[in-house]
């Protein structure tokens, strides 16, 4: 981060692709306009993407620090800034502030099994984490990915998921909500599928990201399987402005999602007053 944390660094769109069949999600690979920019981050951190004249919004980093060539973000078109982002073409510039926030505790995961549970377009930082674990494969035990979406066309990073399925050193369980033509994998909601996959809690950590309803019903499944609350992590979202703990709007109780999070353990969340 530069001396002034409010000033964005110029970045350029290297590659953009439509990520979902309803075209509301696009994935951007960004490169620094100034090659020398030092940028060290870990899976789970986020950035503020900035379109001058439109504003800023926070996005989890979907690339892994082991992928040195680009920073990846997947953007859901929903408001002013995300709509402006959707109009960006390859070669165009935008601003970036970051990396911000804390990260998944990848050091604690070393030598242990990791279970990633994701739903819908909240798979971005889980993709970062999976790519990081796979790039450092020998440092970790079993890796399990359970990922679901309403229908096949809404699963992010389809090509990559197919590659992971072929690798043999990561167990990938994909699911959709209702049967669809050409789909021969699991059908059912993520909490149910998690219950069926039955990942072992022994020497294991779980990371869960998804829509509220998915998280709500997945947490009890993991607790019932024997995962301790301090071994289940999730990542939270709140409306943010500064991203650096000053503007005062993303707090949950005394914690700021931008600086104390966005990654929290389930044990930490249970100790906070506000119903997150």
């Amino acid at each position: 981060m530069p001396d002034n944390p409010y000033v964005p660094i110029p970045v350029r769109v290297q590659n953009v692709r439509v990520e979902s069949d309803d075209r509301t999600l696009r994935t951007y690979d960004l490169v620094f306009a100034d090659d020398a920019e030092p940028f060290e981050y870990l899976p789970g951190q986020f950035c503020q993407l900035s379109i001058l004249g439109k504003g800023e919004a926070a996005f989890g980093i979907a690339s892994s620090p082991t992928e040195r060539e680009f920073l990846r973000f997947t953007v859901n078109r929903v408001g002013t800034v995300t709509t402006a982002l959707h109009y960006l073409k390859e070669g165009e510039e935008l601003g970036l502030r970051g990396p911000l926030g804390n990260h998944y505790p990848v050091e604690k995961f070393k030598g242990q099994n990791v279970v990633l549970v994701g739903g819908g377009f909240a798979f971005t930082t889980l993709r970062s984490l999976a790519a990081y674990l796979l790039a450092n494969r020998s440092d970790y035990g079993d890796i399990t990915v359970i990922y679901g979406a309403r229908r096949p066309g809404l699963l992010l990073y389809r090509d990559e998921l197919t590659e992971w399925e072929k690798r043999g050193d990561v167990a990938v369980h994909l699911t959709i909500d209702e049967p669809a033509a050409g789909w021969d994998k699991a059908v059912g909601f993520v909490p149910t599928v998690t219950g069926k996959v039955r990942p072992s809690p022994k020497d294991a950590w779980a990371v869960v990201c998804g829509p509220p309803v998915m998280i709500k019903y997945t947490m009890p499944v993991l607790l019932d399987l024997g995962f301790a609350p301090d071994r289940i992590y999730t990542s939270l979202e709140r409306r943010m402005k500064c991203g650096v703990g000053k503007c005062g709007r993303c707090n949950i109780g005394p914690k700021y999602v931008c600086t104390d999070g966005p990654v929290f353990s389930y044990a930490e969340l249970a100790s906070l007053p506000e119903g997150v």
Binding site: V7, V78, P212, S235, R239, V244, I252
Partner: protein
């Protein structure tokens, strides 16, 4: 080693000139029936006797401040540094609030260069409160009408003159250089008058209620029906936040000149009482009701701020009481919180909670 001197009121201009030659000087000025903080050039603009309606935070954290300017895709942070900032006539509550804001802007993982540079090389000239108002409760928030905390120099009004005392090395150095030649030392009678003003002010304040139980009580009252009742007495207008010397929440917006790509990104004071404050693009709002928002305001000031910075984010200036359009009184809220806390047992917190998402 602090020194004191006597400044006859007609000679105040000498102090103001010494200040304006080195600093961008802010002080209380009467505008349209209100006393507000403005940049001042001469002593006759000052309204030192009045209660300041806006707080002195504006001298260091302006209501609107440029973070960067842009033209197309090229942006630039404001370059160069302003003249250092000085404030004259900061009441002790306001002077102390600057130290609380230092904790927000100057500590933690990131520091805020806009606030910090401005406050670091500033000079704060406090003015003791000889006649505290009925709405003042600095004594309940751990300070008092002549508390020097946050001031470099403290003025005491003794009728035809001020007694000026340095409270920091910076204040001491300034007084020495500003009054090299013609220092007038206060006489024993002046010092007695100043002492008398202080004891009279202290005696006039309401006896110190004990707010030390507020945080413990708040911890038990998250789900209390008290918040529904408290919310009924609040318009959610947010005036309190704009007047509050410790409220620091801000919004960030881009302002583009019509028909061009030129504009500026500004930060603007914001209030947690607005529904838009936390409303997300998806439509989801973690604090959808007035009750959620007033609870956030009270919790932030008297619980979360204590967790994060060791003291409450309230200096007892009483503006939020004095200038509230519907007579909302935070002192009453704190008393009700304490009383309700006594009646409420500690609650066991469950671990199975509704956890929202994720990305």
């Amino acid at each position: 080693m602090s020194s004191s001197l006597r400044i006859a009121k007609p000679d105040l201009d000498q102090l103001v000139s010494a200040l304006t030659s080195r600093y961008r000087l802010f002080g209380p000025v009467d505008v349209d029936g209100s006393t507000v903080l403005r940049e001042v050039k001469s002593a006759d603009e000052l309204a030192l006797g009045a209660a300041l309606d806006g707080s002195v935070k504006a001298a260091f954290f302006p209501q609107t401040e440029t973070l960067l300017t842009y033209d197309g895709t090229v942006s630039e942070a404001p370059s160069g540094r302003d003249k250092p900032t000085a404030v004259i006539g900061a009441r002790p509550c306001d002077a102390r609030s600057l130290l609380l804001l230092d904790k927000v802007f100057g500590t933690g993982k990131y520091w805020d260069p806009l606030w910090q540079r401005r406050h670091d090389d500033s000079l704060v000239i406090g003015l003791g409160c000889s006649a505290p108002l009925e709405t003042c409760f600095c004594n309940l928030m751990g300070s008092g009408p002549f508390d020097a905390e946050g001031s470099d120099i403290m003025l005491t009004d003794i009728g035809d003159a001020f007694v000026a005392e340095s409270c920091t090395d910076k204040g001491e150095r300034f007084l020495k250089t500003a009054y090299k030649s013609q220092v007038q030392r206060p006489s024993q009678a002046d010092l007695d008058k100043a002492g008398e003003a202080r004891s009279k002010a202290l005696a006039s304040l309401a006896p110190a209620a004990n707010y030390s139980g507020v945080k413990t009580a708040l911890a038990k009252l998250w789900d209390s029906a008290l918040w529904d009742e408290i919310a009924l007495g609040c318009l959610s207008c947010g005036a309190c936040a704009y007047l509050c010397p410790t409220c620091h929440c801000f919004d960030v917006q881009d302002e583009t000149a019509p028909g061009t790509q030129q504009g500026r990104r500004v930060r603007i004071w914001d209030t947690c009482q607005s529904a838009l404050f936390t409303k997300e693009a998806s439509g989801h709002n973690p604090r959808p009701s007035a009750k959620d928002r007033i609870r956030q305001r009270v919790m932030h000031k008297f619980s979360y701020f204590v967790d994060n910075y060791g003291e409450a984010a309230c200096v007892g200036c009483g503006r939020c009481i004095r200038l509230c359009p519907v007579d909302f009184d935070v002192r009453v809220v704190l008393e009700r919180v304490i009383a309700e806390g006594r009646r409420t047992k500690d609650k066991e917190r469950g671990t199975k909670k509704d956890v929202r998402h994720a990305g």
